[in-house]
Symmetry: C2
Subunit: 338 residues, 2 copies
DNA sequence: TTGAAAGCGCTAACAT
DNA sequence: ATGTTAGCGCTTTCAA
């Protein structure tokens, strides 16, 4: 409103306050080696001039950007949005800004995103993808800045990660289904190449079957994609298979199945039980409401970010992999008798 | 893997290639004033050394960060996530990175977020909040960098914005409800202090009533918050009011109402009709599926970002406010007869 | 077509 | 407690 938009710099403040740049810098950075009276003087000028330190210049000089990078699949998937929410809260708690990048499935642009974050001099990176290429994995290992996986697992256990025990979670689910009297249980999953599905959840599914004395058959594993239509589309196949229950790895997919089953006149949960995996708001929206593994998504994000702050500070973290507890929230797509 | 993590700088490249920093800079920035042969030579060295320009240094020198700031309410609200999705796609198309900041309702931290984005030297800002304080509005007007509202309206029409015509959208909704034979129609909304609700949607609601020869009564306006529980909680009051239809301004809230009404044995849409406002995936998840205003959320985000790129380039934008077309998607919470 | 050199706005020794 | 000064890694005149 006043003058023609001249940016105020530390030099302007120093001059007006009659001190050196160094002193202004000290005041701005809360360095104690400043006499209270000069501090006040400088502060007054800063206020008067509306001085706002240039974070880019600061970053260049200090080699710290107080910015972290986040790499995630689609931001519109509730699962990731919830993780991001936790990351965001803790990041702002520690005064970090977030440089957000997301990628469309498949294309190997993740490597590029990673590089561009490094170019921007982020102080650390949180990754929530489903599978890392060997090349990207190498880059992460050799990265100048720390990397933390949120909601993902590093099979090689060399990169920090925060997650839940996907194997036992799947096992618990399927065990409940068996305990409820089901003998033929479908597993409805997304891409099995994604190791959470293909390695961990599938393993838990198989373990539970084995413990329940049921033979595993790949015919009962339905691999599809994560959306409502896919759920509707796969229902007939599931039903035809003779399964009386389904363990589903995604809430949206599960919602599609619930709706399709209901539309087909199936009685849920009496004749067909369904358990899903992320406990997002969708579990409360469907009718019947869906029983689900409750991953503490927000917490996973928050803990991952907290862990990253420690790593960025070169603090010691005792465990490279943090497994948060999960629970099973029973709603109305499973029988009540237990 | 090789050496102890020494960052490669433009100087290293210049030396190895036997040229000056200026030349390397030209090559990196695609400046044509470089002989092809030297270009190749430099490129080879860049490749060999894995040189990656430091974006912070570049930003300081060029006064451009190729980063934009985004200020949004909760990232977990589908509405905003969809807007952000559009922003993200166009941003990466134009090689901009996104500095994402979100705020918890109420607190006046938005001003702070805005300032911190400016401190980070973003080249532009997209704002998706619901209401801006006078102070923040002033800051935006006087900002060194352009600001665009996405999914919000600037009553004073001084700040660029992309949105839909919320007044006519509301009017269309309520008109359909009237045409379907409803005489008492509830409006269920979030905070009326949010001008989209309190000014635009409410006005459209009133206009439709007036055109339909129905008296407006504030008793039929139910102000609550945007979540499932609120929907369930408000249902009894709506029902008691004698309303036979409801215009709801949020999908999650609407889902809560649909579920509560169904649970109460209400026959939807025969005995009670519901139309919601954002056409998110929730509309397809509920049973019956919800009729909704289809805001082109992704497009709003995308167009807002495109507009920002123009503004950042000092290109002329013919209209400060862009109104995208919306439609009414009829599903199963409204009668079929029309 | 290329190079030299002056910044960009700040931090961080180092002096005092 | 405060000031001086040398960078941080790059872009951008200005010369050549």
């Amino acid at each position: 409103m006043d003058q023609p938009e001249k940016e105020i710099t530390i030099t302007d403040v120093a001059k007006q306050a009659g001190v050196s740049m160094a002193t202004v810098s000290r005041v701005v950075n809360g360095n104690n080696n400043v006499k209270e009276i000069t501090r006040q003087k400088v502060l007054a000028v800063i206020d008067k001039l509306h001085y706002r330190p240039n974070a880019v210049a600061r970053g260049l000089a200090s080699k710290k950007s107080t910015t972290i990078g986040v790499i995630m699949p689609s931001i519109t998937e509730l699962l990731y949005a919830n993780l991001a929410d936790g990351i965001d809260d803790v990041a702002s708690m520690y005064k970090y800004n977030i440089l957000l990048t997301s990628f469309d499935n498949g294309k190997n642009e993740e490597q590029q995103l990673f590089n561009s974050l490094l170019a921007k001099q982020v102080d650390g990176i949180i990754y929530m993808g489903e599978q890392v290429s060997d090349e990207l994995y190498e880059s992460m290992l050799n990265s100048r800045v720390p990397v933390v996986f949120a909601g993902a697992v590093d099979h090689k256990n060399q990169i920090a990660s925060v997650n839940i025990d996907y194997v036992t979670a799947a096992r618990d689910v399927v065990k409940l289904l068996i305990d409820n009297g089901n003998q033929k249980i479908a597993m409805v999953t997304g891409d099995l190449k994604n190791s959470i599905n293909g390695d961990y959840r599938l393993k838990g599914y198989q373990q539970a079957l084995e413990q329940g004395g049921i033979n595993y058959s790949s015919n009962n594993v339905f691999e599809t994609v994560y959306n409502l239509q896919a759920g509707a589309a796969v229902w007939d196949a599931i039903n035809d298979s003779g399964a009386t229950a389904a363990y589903v790895t995604n809430d949206l997919l599960a919602a599609g199945i619930v709706n399709a089953a209901m539309a087909a006149g199936k009685n849920i949960p009496q004749d067909f039980e369904i358990i899903t995996s992320s406990n997002t708001i969708l579990c409360d929206v469907t009718r019947p409401q869906m029983t689900s593994v409750a991953q503490p998504l927000y917490d996973i994000g928050a803990v991952a970010m907290r862990m990253l702050t420690k790593l960025m500070n070169k603090e010691i973290v005792d465990e490279l992999e943090v497994r948060l507890p999960y629970s099973l929230v029973k709603r109305d797509t499973t029988k009540k008798n237990n």
